[in-house]
Amino acid sequence: MSEVLKGRAWVFGDDVDTDLIYHNKYLAETDPKNMPQYSFEYYPGKEGFAKGVKPGDFVVAGKNFGCGSSREHAVYCLKEAGVPVILAETCSRIYYRNAINNAYPVLFVKGISDAIKAGKLNDGDELEVSLSAGEIKNATNGETFHGDAVSDLEKDIMSAGGLIPYLKSHKK
């Protein structure tokens, strides 16, 4: 797969916790399709995300994205909104599992936290992302970044379509 994804960036800082991504106020919701409307409602300055995000837009964040709660809502709300991949320096453990289990890609990108702080990635920048090559280009200013490769098991789960389909076909 050498497809290059193109879309706008929504840029966040370090330690974006699950309450900022998807607030505990809406935990009773069980249908993933209803979740995007609450995305980033509590993130100061990003209250307009839910209304403004378009399918194909990227979520770009610094270190430890998705820290806090185990709520899978925080993955569903972005996946259902059509955000194709999360680009972050690192991602919290539970958030990462939840993403992989739903075949939702998270690309770990070295140096992206500092790049955000230095203003090299801004809201609205046009990005070109190659998932297979792990390459990210900021078409707005020409900056490029490289993502980490994922381990074989995670890759297998992803390509099976998530943990459930993976288990159905591999483990009995």
């Binding site: 370090d14 309450d19 505990n24 935990l27 806090g68 709520r71 993955v75 599992r97 288990l167 483990k171």
Partner: protein, 432 residues
Amino acid sequence: MGKTMIMKIMDRASGRDVRIGERVWCNIDLSTARDFGGANCCLQFDEITDKQGKVWDPDKIAFTFDLQAPSHSEKVSNNQKIIREFAKKQGIKHVFDINWGIGQHVMLEHGLVKPGDVILGTDSHMNLLGAVAAFATGVGNTDIAASWIGGINWFRVPETLKVEVTGEFRRGVYMRDFLTLFVGEMGAGGLDFLSVEFSGNVIERSSLAERITLCSMVTEMSGKIGLILPNGRVLDWLAERVKSAGGSEEDVRARVKAITPDEDAPYFKTLRYDVSDLEPMVSCPDAPDNVKKVSEVAGAEVDQVHIGSCTNGRLDDIAAAFEVLKAGGFKVSPKVRTIITPSTREVMAKCAAAGYIEKFLNAGVVFTNPTCSLCTAEHYGAMPSGDVGCSTTNRNFIGKVGKGSHTYLMSPASAMATAVRGVITDPRELLR
């Protein structure tokens, strides 16, 4: 080369000789869900199996209701109902309904947790069960539903950080204060994916409540698990609980032996702390790792004080708050709303028997039923914009308990001292 505690736990659970960094499939000893996330697990399981499937082992599944107990909304009520019906259909008997309290604590009290167990739950603070050397971890609903199919799930074998805590707490200083210091030093991502082993004389002497406090906030540093080897009265208590649940006391003791880390275990790093000079500490708004001494923020105005949660809602915690209230003349400041939430029904009953509840009520404190309460904006003690709270919970992200509100995290003693004076107060001022 020897093995750390988490490696030995994963050896047992995977039936392999595990190595750091590899992904292994582990057998799950207990796969639990709450009224938060639990409904999704049930719906997802039914969807995968076309409503025909049976869970792999109904005795290894437990449900706990604590997000909203009793429920505060139709949606949560419906989620609770979905769980009750699923449990009934599947013959799952470990259902701790709204009258029990915070899940991990209730399961611990009911003897469902053993050293060396691998436990999943829809709660990012599941890992407080590391207080009895279980590897318990918060996961999403997909992980839980998947585990119900075949009783397995995958984990990466983590590196281990060793933390030795020695010395002696001074009066008015508690495990929570050490924890707050530790969170401040590590930072929100400081234990990323790591297992932590806590040891040293402070840990060996510590109560179950203190161990729970310490292990519960490993999540706030992005750690995988904090483990403490059960010993002394904690081990006796645990063995007794497992036995009354129909388990074997000998098995508990044998498991402790089996997961004791080797002398030459590979630690990624060892950190040493002496708590003898420690002062009461506080996590300032709006992050757990924004740490200062209580004395540095003393005098700051607060609107609400909340004591409880899975981190500091045990009898010892409430007793510590009681001591401070007593020293303060059994009256809280009328400027501050003070709320206490015990972690479980057992804790509540003990508070009643000790005469605490009546004294709290007479002092102007609201004493609630056991539940998660103050950890979300949808339960007791939600705050309006602009209000400042003091809390013994584990997270103070911006707006966590109400948009535009801010929270200081601290020990139960510091929180009660603050309730008595109406401004942030070092508990030693009252206790001396």
